[in-house]
Amino acid sequence: MPLIRIQSEDFDVGAEFSALVSGRADIGGTGCFIGRVREADGSRRLTAMTLEHYPGMTERAIGRLAAEAETRWALLGCTVMHRVGRLLPGDNIVLVLAAARHRAASLEATGFLIDWLKTRAPFWKREEFADGAAEWVAARAADDAAAARWGTG
């Protein structure tokens, strides 16, 4: 069963890794990705980003994708933590951990999950810029292409 958590608080990368693998001698590789808020967005300086989700639906959608990844890559464990609320440049946003017998499966599953999370997961982003502008982000075609590689809907 994947561990899915959506929260406003930060997550602890080391603690989540330990919780996933400790006491197990069958895990040969754990892939991991940590996404963070970047200050620069093209030529504009971002001052904050607010993430909104649909409580219940978002967790279920992520849980379903993580379960799909577990099956597809025979994962031995999987953790997705995603923050919501107002985040500042340098803040953590998302953590993906995928544990498997071998490295290739763990890294492919990590890529699959983060591509989907960053493009198809039920989140909405509102960005605030140093010039005072604030706007909801529109879906991006390039990200859709990245997720489409995996054949997910």
């Binding site: 996404g35 993430l51 909104e52 649909y54 219940g56 639906m57 279920r60 995603h82 946003i93 998302v94 999370l117 960053k118 493009t119 198809r120 997961a121 039920p122 989140f123 909405w124 982003k125 509102r126 909801w136 982000v137 529109a138 879906a139 991006r140 990200d143």
Partner: protein, 84 residues
Amino acid sequence: MVRVLYFAWLRERVGRAEEALPLPAGVATVGALMAWLQERDPAHAAAFANSRLVRVAVNQEFADPDAPIGDGDEIAFFPPVTGG
């Protein structure tokens, strides 16, 4: 009663995050509910004006405008998701 939720800029334009309302007579699909809401209230009309930018979920599953709805359902309106 149905529970109707709004997210992101749809929430802002509608002016609320959530409302509970009796399912109006003759409203049996997502699309019919949208039309009814637009007719009732200018804020909803503005929020739903560009229907290409409106996505729907019924009971937390993505749904089409012709998806049936019934008493007790949770119907959510939101922009295309942008990911985390």
